[in-house]
């Protein structure tokens, strides 16, 4: 086994026994990045020198006997998570040369443990997209077939984990941006409960929906990385002061006695046959492992995309007002006065999808339309929240598809924004409600692309989510071979 193939857990065990050095593992990954990233385009910025320095420091800590679960683990970080003195571009021309003067809370926590940061991963501009095609450096490719999207918006992180260009990665999820690329690439992705992980230093897209979460090779690693980043942070006023359990505690507990709900609305409309088959086989397996299967209803599912695509762009139009060419980022050189400096900077600095969403949000919040759009959507959001509350009175976890289809071809949907939005049908509701959710690989399409299933749990119950995911992982019918890289 090559160093780059290790999981967080395996690497940690090997480091504890002093069998390998952090520097050797880091070099092995940097070599691989050097060899493959020109094709896959997973990284926007690679930081070999900083990573080597962190690896040497980690080796010293290991020698001194100071070893935490993430000490010496080489990670990749989505490029909307602020890293001190390393570019944080959000996949946007407008932040091309931006160097944050501080670390995001999650980075600070990981640095304190002695993690290694290999680089910053590609993403849809400001996390707006479902394919990582909306990036100023071009699309990230799916390691299973490079003609296909990796998913998005955390496509760079998902590809980096899948192709072993890092040991594990951080992504962010506003409407599916961790789960959908994890599903398309055949890796594990988790969006924590809103407030579980500090958003301090995460560049804001839609503040009431955004969460940072792990993308990993397996469920155990997901539990380890989640544990390292969650917990209260006074610098994020929406951070939850809730106890953080040992997420590894129930990895081998099985699923006997748990009630698993199947929302009828998720298996009827628009989903691909192979996707439905994958969910059905996962349900059958959970049942044979002892779970009680319950049919439930989330009646407002059909309104989730419309609700989300009013609320998220509205929040975005307000959040992105800060990019005005004054304090940081790109500034248009052709402006004749202050007003034109703002409008030319923004028109030249933002890509098409970001402009579309800013306009959509500006419209939905503007005088005369606020009640019909933003308020209406926020009311429907309440009904979606109530659907989940009712569902979790009856069961412990829900199981659904992640995306309606396996990964699609690069370029296939880019000119049709509404069709692209509709591909988020199964992933946006948990963000609107704020509940935790996860994608676990469970099937392969006939064209050789992975298909994940989505698990949802009640507020702050990531533990049960991980418990159910580990049962699926143990019984996954996925072939033992990995992607062709």
């Amino acid at each position: 086994m090559e160093f780059f193939e290790l999981t967080i857990f395996q690497l940690h065990e090997a480091l504890k026994k002093r069998e390998i050095s952090c520097l050797d593992v880091t070099e092995s990954l940097l070599n691989r990045i050097d060899r493959l990233d020109a094709t896959l385009n997973a990284y926007i910025t690679i930081m070999p020198e900083a990573a080597r320095k962190q690896a040497r420091e980690a080796d010293q800590r290991v020698r001194a006997g100071e070893i935490h679960p993430l000490t010496g683990i080489p990670l990749a970080v989505k490029d909307n998570i602020s890293t001190l003195d390393a570019p944080t571009t959000c996949g946007s021309r407008i932040l091309k040369n931006y160097l944050p003067p501080y670390d995001a809370a999650v980075i600070k926590r990981l640095r304190e443990q002695g993690a290694i940061f290999l680089g910053k991963t590609n993403m849809d501009e400001f996390a707006m997209g479902s394919s990582t095609e909306n990036s100023f450096i071009g699309p990230t490719r799916n390691p299973w077939n490079v003609d296909y999207i990796a998913g998005g918006s955390s496509g760079g992180s998902a590809t980096a984990v899948t192709a072993h260009l890092c040991i594990a990665a951080l992504g962010s999820d506003t409407g599916g941006s961790i789960r959908q690329p994890a599903s398309h690439c055949g890796v594990v992705g988790l969006k924590p409960t809103y407030g579980r992980v500090s958003r301090f230093g995460l560049v804001a897209f839609a503040s009431s929906l955004d969460q940072i979460g792990p993308i990993t090779k397996d469920v155990r690693d997901c539990a380890i990385l989640l544990h390292a980043i969650c917990g209260f942070d006074k610098k994020d006023t929406t951070s939850a002061n809730a106890g953080v359990p040992d997420y590894m505690a129930n990895l081998n507990k099985g699923i006997k006695g748990l009630k698993v709900g199947i929302p009828e609305e998720y298996l009827v409309e628009g989903a691909d046959k192979e996707v439905i088959e994958t969910v059905n086989s996962a349900v059958a397996r959970l049942s044979s492992e002892g779970a009680e299967i319950i049919d439930i209803s989330l009646p407002h599912t059909d309104y989730a995309v419309a609700t989300y695509y009013i609320i998220a762009p509205s929040e975005a139009s307000s959040n992105l007002a800060r990019y005005d060419g004054v304090r940081y980022g790109f500034r248009s050189q052709d402006a004749e006065d202050l007003e034109s400096m703002y409008s030319m900077t923004r028109a030249e600095g933002f890509g098409a999808e970001v402009i579309r969403r800013i306009m959509l949000g500006t419209y939905a919040l503007s005088k005369g339309y606020y009640d019909a759009f933003f308020k209406k959507a926020s009311q429907v959001r309440t009904l979606i929240v109530n659907d989940f509350k009712e569902a979790f009175r009856q069961c412990d976890v829900l199981i659904t598809p992640v995306g309606p289809t396996p990964a699609f071809k690069i370029g296939e949907k880019i000119d049709d924004p509404l069709t692209m939005y509709l591909s988020d049908i199964f992933t946006v509701s948990p963000n609107l409600a704020g509940i935790p959710c996860m994608s676990v690989p469970y099937g392969m399409s006939s064209s050789g692309l992975p298909i994940g299933v989505q698990l949802l749990a009640n507020y702050f119950d990531e533990l049960t989510l991980i418990q159910a995911a580990s049962v699926l992982e143990r019984t996954s019918p996925l072939p033992a071979y990995g992607p062709p890289f």
Binding site: V326, R327, Y328, L338, R346, A352, L360, Y363, V380, L418
Partner: protein, 98 residues
């Protein structure tokens, strides 16, 4: 019958102005068309009865996050200015306003 567009071109131009986006004509036309398609889809929400439903603006119930007023270190002037596209000493520099 020609279906009335939710956002005619003129209004899209007004919205772009509010959002401080100076868009070339061809882009504005394309976005206007796409926004109308998207907003037609949003009509769906009118099927839902929401009379008396309290809107949700936060995923979790929030209260004012208060803390003790203790002075702590914060970003220094130099660090805060480092990313400025144009500066003049300790000031951000912009085109002449008046």
């Amino acid at each position: 019958m020609v279906r009335r567009m939710k956002i005619p071109l003129q209004e899209a131009e007004y919205i772009a102005g509010l959002a401080r986006l100076r868009l070339p004509e061809d882009q504005l036309l394309l976005f206007t068309k796409q926004l109308n398609t998207i907003l037609d889809y949003m009509e769906k929400l009118n099927e839902v009865e929401t009379k008396g439903v309290v809107p949700t603006y936060h995923a979790l119930p929030t209260t004012s996050a208060l803390r003790e007023d203790i002075v702590e270190g914060s970003l220094g002037k130099k660090e805060a200015m480092e990313n400025a596209p144009q500066k003049d000493g300790d000031f951000f520099s912009v085109p002449k306003v008046i």
